[in-house]
Amino acid sequence: MKHAMTFTALVAASLMLGISAQAQDKQQLAFVVNAASDFWKLAEAGVNKAQEELPNYEVQFRYPAQGTAALQNSLMDDLVAAGTDAIMISSADPANSIDAFNRIAAQVPLFTTDSDAPQSDRIAYLGSSNTLAGVQAGEEMVKALPDGGKCMGFVGFLGADNAKERIAGFKQAIEGHNIELVDVRGDDVDFARARTNVDDVLVANPEITCMVGFYSYNPPKIYEALQAAGKLGQITVVAFDEDPVTLGAVREGSFASTVVQQPYEWGYQGMKLMAAYLEGDKSGIPEDGLIIVPTKVINAENVDEFEADLKAKIGG
């Protein structure tokens, strides 16, 4: 009798262990970004929301130690080695990471976001079209300057794909409307230099009547420089992304509008897309492999609603 009890206990214990061990074997999804910024915090919120709806999966959100493609690629290698089942990445330099992408794609499903690498074996791209976003910004500028004007652009990395596409889209949209993008000044994501660039343009280029902030931190710097020079409202500004200062400026009317991406959607939809894919459902993948989440224009009319929605998403 005694032995029977011990035996049953042992079997029960091993069963429980077996079940819990199996429970550890949830499939893992990873979202890898290229920099530390509030922009990606929204994506992280989207990813966390998706986790609530994907109880059978474990989602991770990873920032590399530095925003270089090399570190991102080795991060992905480590993730795959640790058992990650699908990865979505916003690469710092997709054009030069084709080999690394292919290596990863050969082992797990790989998706891109924010910056695409169409020549690689990635399954699909989910994000904005930077070109279309640039076009939207250009159209906003045309609306705000019916008589035309000379614009100066400000960006972080002049050579980055997303910067180049936005600038190209912008130029495309202002074509023929008597608006010129005179130049784009780069600051390599040095906030002090970003601010100095605007100050210097205000001094050196009095002919400038409009400005564009292409990266998310550029518009706040434009705002602060204009404020310090007492020129708020005298220069028309179109912005990208949703820094609180940018939204405040839109609300108070100093900025014409801002074109926001929807990184929350990238995180949220991206996780669900990868989960579906792992379950064999490829219906979400279009033929050209491009899932474009449209960018939105935020102006004085819809800024309050937008901000409330943002708060809900990040808070919740």
Binding site: D183, V184, G186, F191, A192, P220, A228
Partner: protein, 325 residues
């Protein structure tokens, strides 16, 4: 003012004249004011670095310290509602504590300054990033804090950062070139062992240099934070210590220690900011920013060195002519 300082001043004037001829707006009041502000910002922690370099050491952690203390300051005032004078004191004390840590590791535990401050560079930025979870620390839109605009104010167009730089530079000049402590710094930098054999408490002297450096860097961290109004811990002041080291080297500081001039390092900081300014003013593509800086510095130092060689040669020739008679 030494020959070297004069040479640097001449280089500055030549570059400034050149830029002015290409774009007279270089000397417009707004531009002078803007550039003066940057000179104040960068000059402050360049002087800080000078104190450390003169002992034969180096502080690679300046940029990361500016990031960490800047993040803390903005977070305390903007998010936690701490009155800014208290936040300022907290940040300064923290900076001094970090400087003390450097001092102890270097003088008591005999670790090389390069290694200690390199670890500082890595650790401080990492802590800054961890503190905010990699988010940017910023003030809420439209927030104002009475008195805090001191750090960005301009008195008749003269930025407070420049005024502070002038005050600090004068004090630093007196300390380094006229005081007992300054003499000790030079002696320790030239030959630490001989200084010890003359009864100088070398550990105290070297330690003090690192504390001074950290304190001044902490002060400039607050200025930078107010200039950018939002601090991204991963990118704020990235590699700025190189600006400080470059300014010091341009200003006659030897990396082996024992040589340097406060006037020189301030002139060096001025030159570096003028070079940054000219890239924007002359519409040179932003990508060439550092290429322009490096080229002008190289040519300037080369010309200065060759002039020195030529002058020394002339002296010898003349002296030989005299004694030959």
């Amino acid at each position: 003012m030494s020959k070297k300082d004069t040479g640097l001043l001449v280089l500055i004037l030549v570059v400034a004249a050149g830029v002015y001829l290409r774009n007279p707006l270089f000397l417009s009041p707004n531009n002078i004011s803007n550039t003066a502000n940057l000179i104040g910002l960068f000059g402050l922690f360049s002087i800080a670095q000078g104190f450390v370099i003169i002992t034969g050491g180096i502080d690679l952690s300046s940029g990361s310290m500016i990031a960490l203390l800047g993040v803390l300051f903005v977070d305390l005032v903007g998010n936690k509602g701490v009155p800014w004078p208290i936040a300022l004191v907290i940040v300064l004390i923290l900076g001094i504590l970090l400087g003390l840590a450097h001092a102890l590791l270097i003088t008591r535990l005999k670790m090389p300054p390069f290694v200690v401050t390199l670890c500082g560079l890595l650790i401080y930025r990492g802590v800054a990033r961890g503190y905010t979870g990699d988010a940017t620390a910023g003030f809420p839109f439209g927030s104002t804090y009475p008195g805090l605009d001191f750090f960005t104010a301009r008195v008749y167009g003269v930025p407070t950062s420049l005024l502070l730089l002038v005050v600090v530079a004068v004090i630093a000049w007196v300390v380094l070139h006229r005081s007992v402590f300054g003499r000790y710094l030079f002696a320790v930098g030239k030959n630490e062992e001989a200084a010890r054999f003359s009864g100088i408490r070398t550990n105290l002297v070297i330690g003090a240099a690192y504390v001074i450096c950290a304190a001044l860097t902490a002060l400039s961290a607050v200025f930078f934070a107010m200039y950018t109004r939002s601090v991204s811990p991963s990118s704020q002041a990235n590699f700025y210590e190189l600006y400080a080291i470059a300014a010091a080297v341009l200003g006659g500081f030897s990396l082996r220690g024992g040589e340097g001039s406060i006037i020189g390092v301030v002139l060096g900081a001025i030159l570096l900011q003028i070079l940054q300014n000219l890239v924007n003013l002359l519409g040179i593509p932003s990508s060439l920013n550092f290429a322009v800086m490096g080229t002008v510095i190289l040519i300037g130092v080369l010309v200065d060195q060759q002039l020195g060689v030529y002058r020394a040669h002339r002296r010898l020739v003349e002296a030989a002519r005299e004694t030959a008679d």
